[in-house]
Amino acid sequence: MIYLDNAATSFPKPSEVYGEMDEFFRERAANPGRAGYRLSTEAEKGIEMTRKALAGLFGASEPQRLVFTLNATDAINMAIKGLLNPGDHVITTTLEHNAVTRPLNSLERQGVITVTRVRPSPQGFLDPGDIKRAITHKTRLVALVHASNVLGTVQPIGDVGRLARERDLLFLVDAAQSAGLWPVNVEEQCIDLLAFTGHKSLFGPPGTGGLYVGGRVELRPWREGGTGVDSQNPVQPEDMPFRLEGGTPNFVGLAGLKAGVEFVSRTGTDKIRRHGQALTSQLLHALGDDTRFTLYGPPPEAEVGGGPATSPILSLNIRGMEPQVVGTILDESFGIAVRSGLHCAPGTHKEIGSFPQGTVRISPGFFNTGDDIAQVALALKEIASSTAVSSRQ
């Protein structure tokens, strides 16, 4: 089987991740809640090491402000619902994943907030100027996806961050697709809230993720409960990370995430990203001038800051075929796993003209090879030549 759905979740993981989780779960997985005995202290230490590793990766000088969540969705909900107040205005984009769109839409429908949705260029890039023009005196938050999970296009978060900072707005970045692939630095890029998930390019297991909460932000905790510290306090403690981390954490998953983050740091985000980009551009070139395909997103030569401006994600369609049919044939007859549909980002498909059927999304990962891509290109061409003919013949 050739797995090309790494934008959904990376697979396989580096072997250290499996090894670390197995070892941790068997040998050291006592409840970290400050029991004082050695095993518990080790579990606690494991979590703090993961926290430090991630804070390091994201350039956050206060690791305790990085809280663990179930995934990016959980982190984004924690940020949006813990921050916004009646009357607030939010600027977001039409490129967002439902993890951002839906919480904002529901607050908007309840009449709590107002939302402006900025549109990207036809190639899928945002103009920070459009965000600037959308600012009103009620604007509190700019919520922006770093890398689109449909097009792979990467947005200029540093520019938007500095703009937000100048205008005293808070800035939320959905780094679900970019963490581990692109440099993210909360201080340089003026990010107040950084949401990420563990199971994609950080190579951790599902059920891990986090939210970095910058010093300018105070979130209302919605998940209140045991913290193992300050237990006499009748309400959730003020101290981070306890303020936002009630309940027993997924410390086995976090041990795996630490191994994943260490793999990323050791290998280097640039190397990981370039490997994937080389594979997507190989695919783009293989299909590029075949008119039976519609390829979405920018051409391979589009660049930002001296490199390709997209994550290793390619969305396409074969003219006249439903993406789900193409996806099933790839799986069924060629043993190639890709994803078809809207990828939880309907707004993006409306922008690129692939709504409602969606696209076939091919997302290579660090463990894919040029041979995998050659095979998927060949398979796609064969499928494109196989239009169904009437049974009358």
Binding site: E322, Q324, T328, I329, E332, P346, P356, S386, S390, R392
Partner: protein, 348 residues
């Protein structure tokens, strides 16, 4: 209990007053209200059973009227789900009976709720996987069930008594590959054959509910009304020692492992059907043979093929079947409709 109404049945000696009293306190579930299920339901309600539940996921269609005796043209105009139309009709037949029609697709998630409290389960389904689900539930709860099936002029029936007889799974090593067998939609069905087997099914149910196990038919009844052949095949009566269901207690259909999965697709107005079990074994459907079977039912112009798939248009929708049995039904988000059309035209 009104004796007058059931007098002729009470006069039938093996039932008698005592049998009638037992019947009035008993409950049965009919799964699938088609040709067999609707006759069985009607006979049971007339016989004076205490409680009858009828489960069916479909909406009535004109082609049902040829054989499904609970329904008429007025029901068709109302466009009710068959389970609800059946409930109305059954109450008119016998208002003293507690009748409950449930418009639902029986699946591993709801089976234990929808089949609960049945003293006997009557098979009126049109597909093998639902039967294997009934089989699992029956074994798990010790509930007798009566397998029956009809295709063309042929009809089959077998009483399955957990702990006493073999079970349906004893007879099949693996579940038939989807798309490998003819269905009523592709091969037709003769109404009298269905009614005949429903009559036998009801009689078997009456024996169970009035406590006459000695009178039950053992083995497989196999009738072909057109050929005029009436057989009782004395299959092995003992369970197969390797049967996963009745010998090992592995209820693969009730626990969802072997059951098909039906999901609405993100984006398109479409449902994906993934049949259970077989795909893992690498088994492939013969799409050419399936296409030939579908041609007489749907017309050749509604079918097209490529090396990777078979497509057919059906009631304003399009179904695409892949060689491993997976299918996409475009034009709906209704998962239970997708299962219906799949089991009718491809076969589950």
């Amino acid at each position: 209990m009104k004796t007058e109404r059931y007098l002729r049945q009470i006069l039938f000696h093996p039932i008698g007053k005592e049998g009638q009293r037992r019947l009035a306190e008993s409950s049965a579930v009919v799964v699938g209200c088609g040709a067999i299920g609707s006759t069985t339901a009607s006979l049971l309600v007339r016989s004076g059973i205490g409680y009858l539940r009828v489960i069916d996921r479909d909406v009535l269609e004109e082609s049902n009227l040829q054989r499904q005796e609970l329904f008429d043209e007025e029901d068709l105009r109302e466009g009710l789900p068959k389970a609800l139309a059946a409930e109305k009709r059954l109450r008119r037949i016998n208002s003293a009976i507690r009748v409950e029609g449930i418009a639902a697709d029986l699946n591993p998630t709801n089976a234990e709720t929808l089949l609960r409290d049945a003293q006997v389960i009557l098979d009126g389904t049109d597909n093998f996987e639902t039967r294997l689900l009934l089989n699992d539930y029956a074994l798990k709860t010790g509930t007798p069930w009566i397998y029956s099936a009809c295709l063309g002029s042929q009809a089959l029936l077998m009483d399955i008594l957990p702990g006493k007889t073999l079970c349906l799974r004893c007879l099949v090593d693996s579940v038939p590959l989807p798309g490998s067998l003819p269905t009523c939609e592709t091969a037709g069905i003769l109404a009298p054959a269905a009614k005949l087997i429903a009559s036998i099914q009801t009689t078997e149910a009456l024996k169970i509910l009035t406590n006459h196990p000695e009178a039950l038919i053992s083995g497989l009844v196999n009738i072909d009304l057109w050929k005029g052949s009436f057989q009782k095949v004395d299959t092995q009566t003992a369970p197969s020692p390797t049967c996963p269901a009745c010998q090992k207690g592995e209820y693969e259909f009730l626990n969802a492992k072997g059951f098909s999965l039906t999901t609405t697709l993100c984006g398109s107005n479409a449902v994906q059907i993934t049949p259970g079990g077989n795909a893992e074994n690498g088994a492939k459907i013969d799409l050419v043979a399936l296409s030939l079977r579908l041609q007489s039912a749907l017309g050749v112009d509604n079918i097209s093929q490529s090396p990777y798939l078979l497509k057919f248009r059906l009631k304003g929708r399009e179904m695409v079947i892949f060689p491993d049995g997976r299918a996409l039904l475009f034009g709906t988000q209704d998962t239970s409709l997708a299962r219906t059309l799949y089991s009718q035209y491809v076969g589950l």
